[in-house]
């Protein structure tokens, strides 16, 4: 029997983007207020989980056509290379740098290499949790 998911599907279409934007906000906020790569990644996953509850697993794979294992590996390599970058510049492993840059639209912005590391964490968490959910979900 097919249940009628109209309300869930309609709400999902709107809420999905709110969650995704919030995830990016949380990822960027991590340096000065609660948040960071880990929660950001979990939030992203929760958005995709909502999508899969409303539209099914196949829709998630169609909407986000990436191999989440590769996302995980990509995140790990970003975090790692961020640490190794410091050693190339003759600083101890994992040394971070920060500076203030004038960006168009955003104005005076604090940019840190810790954000690159956090993006690595974000991708790893997203990739790992999505891999877990998709692998368990596939076998029915």
């Amino acid at each position: 029997m097919k249940t009628n998911d109209l309300i869930l599907q309609t709400v999902t279409k709107v809420v999905l983007f709110i969650i995704l934007v919030f995830a990016v906000f949380i990822l960027n906020a991590g340096h000065h207020s609660p948040g960071g790569g880990f929660v950001g990644g979990l939030l992203t996953t929760s958005a995709f989980v909502l999508l899969s509850l409303a539209f099914g697993m196949e829709t998630v794979q169609k909407a986000v056509p990436v191999n989440f294992r590769h996302v995980m590996a990509l995140g790990l390599s970003i975090a790692f290379l961020c640490g190794i970058g410091a050693t190339v510049l003759q600083y101890p492993f994992l040394t971070h740098a920060f500076g203030y840059v004038h960006l168009p639209l955003l104005g005076e912005t604090e940019l840190t290499t810790a954000l690159i590391f956090d993006i690595g964490v974000y991708l790893t968490v997203t990739g790992a949790t999505m891999t877990a959910i998709l692998t368990i979900g596939e076998d029915r």
Binding site: H70, M72, A73, S77, F80, I84, P92, F93, L94, T95
Partner: protein
């Protein structure tokens, strides 16, 4: 500052990460994993040359000074173990090329393998108690996946037990770290050493030290917490079992050494006597298991337990000769246990059974295998020209200096029984009537035996070249017995 010391950790981990992208390309995975391990073996070799020349090397990760950030400390003990880890890792890797099967290779076998090696090296290098916990988890999670990879019935059953035991011990580790942090207010090992010494070791610290001993005893399979080991080391495929036997329990042994030569050294009459008693009992229990078992893999696994006991007696004696002997015996044991597990796996593979009673006559078709096993067994028992001998002599010397004659007597008796237990494999499995299914041939015999032969050669070289190896080992012993060297190198700022 010396970035080189973290590269034996980074190179395997980074190679493992890259291999995740190459899931389907098994050939590329093999080449890259071998290249990565060779590279970091080279770095480990470089470190082994550098540390005696320039003293203990440290690196403050992220450029934060010692008690605030995480430090990596490469003293002689850690560096020797890292080199041994890489050599054992290389042997197991080359064995895997022929011995693991393509199905497993396609399912992230090599990334997990490299994560395990990287985690082990990280645990050896770190100078921070919580970071030690993290690296323990890195290597344990890789080992959970490796023990279950392939999904046979037996592997699943044993991996469940293995995971439960290790999750319990990891939780206990975390709780102990919480207590330790509450009492001392620091987790940096050098800083801990200073603070614990200043506090004059009140009762709560002695209690904590026992808690840590329990945690690491589960990881290292010390009596009475060894019960999980024999079955879980018999379940996984040969190269994985060899890697476990060579590396995993040894990380627990390393952690016990680090904690009880650096941090908890102010109440030795209590703590080190306790270690000595448990180590002696472990030695005996392990060898009883080895002698009593009829299963090749169980015999070898019980020998792992027995060796852990023998190594820790050196810490129990707590004098120069004892600790130096323990370091040498630890290095020897990592090499020879991996070697015996590889050879045992080949024997079981040819015979098609693990039961001694159903084996026999292997030497007619496979003379190289037979004699390699014989040499490895002799080295395990500590027969003079081979590597087990020198370590055991030093351990016995330490025992005599500490006037623990009963332990010395016991360890001699245990050596005899170890020899008996492995000779049973040789006599029943290798000698006698040929009992194998007719015409059964092992494919790629040479490719499987070469890594084990490499380890045997290494063991012989350590035995014959003991004169050349000894300065490194004794330096490791010196640095372990004098915590102030470690503390000065870390240069803790208050």
């Amino acid at each position: 500052m010396n970035n080189v010391i973290v590269f034996p950790v980074i190179v395997p981990l980074l190679t493992g990460i890259l291999l995740i992208f190459l899931k389907e390309r098994v050939g590329v995975q093999r080449v890259l994993s071998a290249a990565g391990l060779f590279l970091s073996t080279g770095i480990a070799l470089f470190l082994v040359r550098q540390v005696p020349a320039e003293g203990i090397q440290t690196l403050a990760a992220g450029n934060w000074p010692a008690p605030f950030g995480i430090v990596f400390v490469a003293d002689m003990f850690a560096v020797l173990l890292i080199l041994t880890t890489h050599l054992v890792g290389l042997a197991c890797l080359f064995f895997s090329f022929r011995g693991i099967g393509e199905g497993r290779e396609r399912h992230y076998y090599y990334p997990l393998f490299l994560f395990l090696v990287g985690g082990v090296c990280g645990a050896f290098l770190t100078g921070d108690a919580f970071n030690l916990f993290v690296f323990f988890e890195v290597l344990l999670i890789a080992s959970y996946a490796l023990i279950a990879l392939g999904g046979t019935r037996r592997q699943l059953r044993e991996s469940l037990k293995y995971v439960v035991v290790n999750v319990v011990s990891s939780t206990l580790f975390l709780i102990s770290l919480g207590f330790l942090y509450a009492v001392t207010g620091t987790l940096n090992m050098a800083d801990l050493s200073v603070k614990v010494a200043d506090s004059g070791q009140p009762g709560v610290l002695t209690a904590l030290s026992v808690l840590f001993l329990v945690v690491f005893a589960i990881k290292a399979a010390l009596f009475p917490l060894y019960f999980w080991l024999p079955d879980s080391y018999a379940a996984p495929p040969t190269p994985v079992a060899a890697l476990f036997a060579g590396l995993l329990t040894k990380v627990g042994v390393y952690a016990i050494f680090r904690f009880f030569t650096l941090i908890f050294v102010n109440d030795t009459p209590f703590t080190h006597t306790m270690i000595l008693i448990f180590a002696a009992v472990t030695m005996v229990i392990g060898v009883i298991g080895a002698v009593g078992s009829e299963n090749v893999k169980h015999i070898l696994a019980y020998n792992v337990i027995s060796a852990v006991g023998l190594i820790l007696t050196g810490l129990g004696f707590y004098n120069d000769a004892g600790v130096t002997g323990a370091v040498l015996y630890l290095v020897h044991d990592m090499i020879i246990k991996a070697c015996l597990f590889l050879l045992g796996g080949v024997i079981v593979g040819i015979a098609g059974t693990e039961k001694l009673a159903h084996m026999g006559g292997l030497i007619k078709k496979h003379p190289q295998l037979g004699w390699l096993f014989f040499t490895a067994a002799m080295s395990l028992a500590g027969i003079p020209p081979l590597s087990g001998f020198v370590g055991k002599v030093l351990l016995l010397q330490g025992g005599i200096q500490a006037s623990s004659y009963w332990v010395v007597g016991l360890s001699l008796l245990v050596s005899l029984l170890i020899l008996f237990s492995v000779m049973r494999i040789f006599i029943y499995g290798v000698w006698g009537e040929e009992r194998f299914p007719a015409g059964k041939k092992m494919r790629g015999d040479g490719a499987l035996l070469a890594p084990a032969a490499f380890l045997v050669v290494l063991s012989v070289a350590i035995g014959l070249g003991a004169e050349g190896v000894y300065p490194y080992i004794s330096l490791a012993g010196e640095q372990l017995m004098d915590p102030s060297l470690y503390i000065e190198s870390v240069n803790v700022k208050e």
